[in-house]
Amino acid sequence: MSTATLTPAATTARLIRDTDALFARKRVVALAVPALILAYFAYIFIAFDIAGLRDRASLDNAMTLVNDSYSYKTHVARDNRSGEVSISIEGERKGAYPDGMSPDWVTLGDDTVITLPKGHEVLFLADGSVRYDIPGYGLVTATPGRSGVNAVLPDGDVPNWINASKNRLAIKTEAGRLTITRNRTEVFRYTMGWELFFFTLDSPYHGLGPVALAQRAANGEAGAIWSDFWNNRMWQHHQVAWAIFETILMAFLGTFGAAIVALPLALLAARNFAPFVWVRMVTRRVFDFFRGVDALIWTIVLARAFGPGPLTGALAILITDTGSFGKMFSETLENVDGKQIEGIRSTGAKPLQTYRFGVLPQITPIFLSQVLYYLESNTRSATIIGAITGGGIGLLLTQAMITQKDWEEVAYYITLIILMVMLMDWFSGWLRKRLIGGQDAH
């Protein structure tokens, strides 16, 4: 207003001054914001001791994890006292080859011949000695017995991939690994892929191709094939499927249960519906309390009452989200359009009919879209809560992690979890489009 009384020159001068000030301020902000962020990261660098991370980090663990997640090792072991040779995958009992059966790179007999990739060959001789022919290095022999492993290496310096002492010989090459102690000789051969994913070795269907399997299935063996796959002891597809189902169940029950509980409560918390001010205030504080006591704490409290399992997880999600939904629903209710309600009322509708035809059609699409959005995010929460409270895929994941060797299973579970969350994301989006799109058309 005051500019109108000034001369044009003065106005221009003032504009220039204002603009200069604005630019100066912007310049300061443009510098200060990145500087502040940098300063904060510098503080975090010190507070989290990131410099000391290199000492704490274990590269060996990382290597094991990465290698194990896409490859597996087969153990060929000989008991040096009885001379008995056993072959098993990952050294596990459930992955053991039945007597007399061996992979095609192991020849059983008086002498056991183990062919490793790249021309390496290990021989378990009938007299109890072991020969390992390493291309480009030479022949290593050992005769484990009471007096030690008695290793004979080629002349010259011992390379760092061979670890030889009186009672132990360990050779680690690109083709595999040989470990000899007085009592046991063991060869590891690494293979790409997830071992025994479909059938374990004791199943007659192990090693058959998809075509052969389809033929057998057509001949009436489909049930047996399915049962061998479903009850695979190594991968336990049956349990994994249940775990995934449990996780989705937790998310489903928690989300929709919370929506059902929150709906009537939200009416009490909305300004235009609540009968008394104090009812509104109390309900709102209850919502804040449910939300503020995080799912973590609800999980702990509930696990004390109901023990671990999917019900505990579902109720933890239900209680936390009752708070979230209550808050969101009541805000939505406060924003309803009064004109529609008025219009319905003017036709002589009773209060209940007013709600049904005046309020419900307005809020349903918004509520549904909020609830469905939460369904996807709660699938993720259910995985995390499952890890704490012991249910669903989260539990399987933590269990596989704790053993610190079943990394291929960890990789499998992680893949399944990501697929599950993406599927739920897609499903909730599809449902939202179907339900709300339909609503808009009417």
Binding site: I37, A47, F48, S58, R304, G309, P310, L397, D425
Partner: protein
């Protein structure tokens, strides 16, 4: 006349069919909920019927013990303040890192702004996968490699945050005007200059508002990750819980600290977000006047 009757008839038929469908859907939904609760109940260690009256036992026990040892609370607060700070720091650092990553990835995944338009689907899928990854998955793997502490939690939460914010940011980007970008490119600005000078100023308030909302969520996430061994107040809570009876006053103090932190951050962030949207409006009015 007959025409109107016919219309009425069809309309009533449609209404009836719609009601029938609605009724069937409702029945299916109720059946699913009931069956679901029964299944969950059957697979739980303890059933709902046996357990519900014990629901308040644990809180009552904790509160009872805490009430007897109120005098020790200030000492507990002081003892656990550094852990709480660590939890907040994990959330803040991961939100910052995640938001920075999300800004870049979302710009690369938005039509009209992308540096390499052909790679838009690749960046979108990358964001989807990052968003689908629950924090705990990465945290557990990183704890195995890096050892316990705040760094695995920070990386895990930041990773998920990139995906979650990236999607929201790219929606914001799509509504931004491309004219400043065209103007800048006509004077020869590089891609980074176009984005920083042409896009960011338009979308910064929305970015900030979403990032604040994410900060609220990440505080909770960082408390939970502490519980599985990633440092902060969650780790202390787990320890306090394992000491069991007679030591619950510490658990109660941690519960209280966590609760107050979550509520305060929620309130602060919602006030700030409110000011961001309203502040923008008043600025626009000021600019026009």
């Amino acid at each position: 006349m007959s025409n109107i009757e016919q219309n009425n008839q069809t309309y009533m038929d449609m209404v009836r069919r719609k009601r029938l469908y609605g009724g069937i859907m409702l029945a299916v939904f109720v059946a699913l909920m009931l069956a679901g609760f029964r299944t969950a109940d059957a697979r739980n260690a303890g059933s709902f019927i046996d357990g519900w009256h014990r629901f308040f036992d644990f809180p009552a026990e904790v509160l009872g013990e805490a009430a007897g040892k109120l005098a020790e609370f200030p000492a507990h607060f002081a003892q656990y303040a550094p852990s709480l700070l660590e939890t907040i720091n994990i959330a803040a650092a991961s939100t910052l890192l995640g938001a920075l990553g999300a800004v870049i990835l979302s710009l690369l995944a938005t039509r009209g702004m992308a540096r390499w338009p052909r790679l838009i689907p690749v960046f979108r899928r990358a964001l989807d996968i990052m968003r689908a990854m629950p924090e705990i998955v990465i945290a557990l793997v990183l704890i195995f490699i890096l050892g316990g502490g705040p760094v695995p939690a920070m990386i895990a939460i930041a990773f998920h945050t990139v995906g979650a914010l990236g999607k929201l940011f790219s929606e914001v980007n799509e509504n931004a005007s491309l004219k400043p970008v065209e103007g800048l490119s006509s004077v020869g600005a590089s891609w980074a200059q176009r984005m920083v000078l042409g896009v960011i100023p338009q979308v910064a308030p929305n970015y900030l508002s979403y990032a604040l909302l994410r900060f609220e969520i990440n505080i909770r996430a960082s408390a939970i990750l502490g519980f599985v061994g990633a440092g902060g107040i969650g780790y202390e809570l787990k320890n306090a819980m394992t000491w069991g009876k007679g030591q619950y006053d510490e658990a109660a103090a941690i519960f209280l600290m966590l609760f107050v932190t979550i509520v305060v951050v929620d309130q602060l962030s919602s006030a700030l977000r409110d000011r961001l949207t309203h502040g923008k409006k008043s600025n626009m009015i000021g600019a026009q006047a």
